[in-house]
């Protein structure tokens, strides 16, 4: 048996998982509640901010990234960065395409 090598791997316990579970449930409640308020431009901003907070909690603790190697952290950051490039460059193009044509 290989106790020595397995235990070098960080094990996240039920306590952390329960805390994250409640944080995610509170986040879901908040975002549904916020969607019933009339906030104009802020409605999508708040909904996406809460969704992103929930996603970060899942990634860091349920998916153990908080405890993972630098290589994994850097790769995930690179992937998310490329996704943000995709979104921001595309939207920049489409939003500014008709500028000056009216």
């Amino acid at each position: 048996m290989s106790e020595h090598s397995e235990h070098a791997h960080h094990i996240v316990g039920p306590k952390v998982y329960v805390i994250i579970l409640f944080a995610l449930l509170i986040g879901t409640g908040l975002t549904v509640w916020a969607s019933f308020l009339e906030l104009g431009l802020w409605n999508p901003v708040i909904a996406l901010a809460i969704a992103t907070t929930k996603a970060v909690l899942v990634v860091l603790f349920f998916m153990h990234v908080w405890y993972s190697t630098k290589l994994t952290k850097l790769s995930i950051f690179a992937g998310i960065f490329m996704f943000l490039v995709l979104i921001s460059m595309t939207l920049t193009d489409y939003i500014s395409r008709a500028w000056g044509s009216w």
Binding site: S2, V12, L21, S35, I87
Partner: protein, 251 residues
């Protein structure tokens, strides 16, 4: 422990007794093997980020172009079902995380129970999704030859939705673009549901293996990596819920 040089072939033979049976010979240690497997799983998940990222981008672009159609389309979704499904998926992520912990701490019964609960919650999610899809089919909101603009040209003909949102009728050319909203709705939630179905199938396989004690003898990579997949599918839903159900409620 054998070192990684070629000359160590002789000592590798005797090292067989020291290392666990699941350790492949091209790794130095079980920990290095676990790190490599986890890293590879993340690379796969990043390709999934790009895949769903394309869908999210398409949604944002078309929502900008045909904003009134996307708002009216979104008003057809039921926030209560969406929120219920979000809670179901969050609980299933929690039970999955508990499953990983049970595997790591060698609790066989706990692992089987966690996986079974995750399996069950996954099915509940798909069941609720089916109820939602059926409503879209009945209202002819599935894109295609039978697509109906009725709810958007004459909102009062759809009393339940009208009572909640009081939508104004859309002009016919804008109303047509609600079909685009539902195309993206079915594409995104459908791809998400496909990931759920694949996950549930793998969970079924894992439950059988876990009962035989497969993941509670030290080698937990499969459970850990499946956990990553399941949590990723949860994250996709968190965004789908915000983008499809929530952000257009007041416009």
């Amino acid at each position: 422990m054998p070192d990684n040089s070629v000359n160590s072939a002789i000592s590798a033979n005797s090292a067989h007794e020291e290392h666990p049976s699941y350790l492949r010979h091209h790794f130095n240690s079980a920990e290095q093997q676990a790190d490599a497997a986890g890293f590879a799983m993340w690379l796969f998940l990043l390709t999934e980020v790009m895949f769903f990222g394309g869908l999210f981008t398409a949604y944002l672009v078309y929502r900008n172009w045909y904003y009134p159609a996307f708002v009216s389309g979104s008003h057809q979704l039921n926030v209560v079902w969406g929120a219920t499904n979000t809670v179901v998926l969050i609980f299933s992520s929690f039970t999955m995380a508990m499953g990983v912990w049970c595997a790591q701490t060698r609790r066989r019964r706990g692992l089987v129970l966690s996986l079974a609960l995750t399996f069950f919650l996954g099915l509940v999610f798909l069941g609720i999704k089916t109820i939602e899809y059926r409503e879209k089919i009945e209202k002819h909101h599935v894109p295609g030859f039978h697509y109906s603009l009725q709810s958007f040209l004459d909102p009062q003909s759809d009393p339940e939705v009208y009572a909640e949102y009081h939508d104004k009728p859309l002009a016919p050319d804008m109303a047509r673009h609600t079909e685009l909203y539902f195309s993206l709705y079915f594409l995104m939630t459908g791809m998400h549901a496909l990931h759920m179905i694949i996950g549930i199938a793998i969970l079924g396989f894992m439950i059988l293996r876990a009962r035989a004690g497969a993941y509670t003898a030290g080698h937990v990579t499969f459970v850990e990596n499946f956990g990553l997949y399941w949590h990723f599918v949860d994250i996709i839903w968190i965004y789908l819920f915000a983008l499809l159900y929530l952000i257009s409620r007041h416009q």
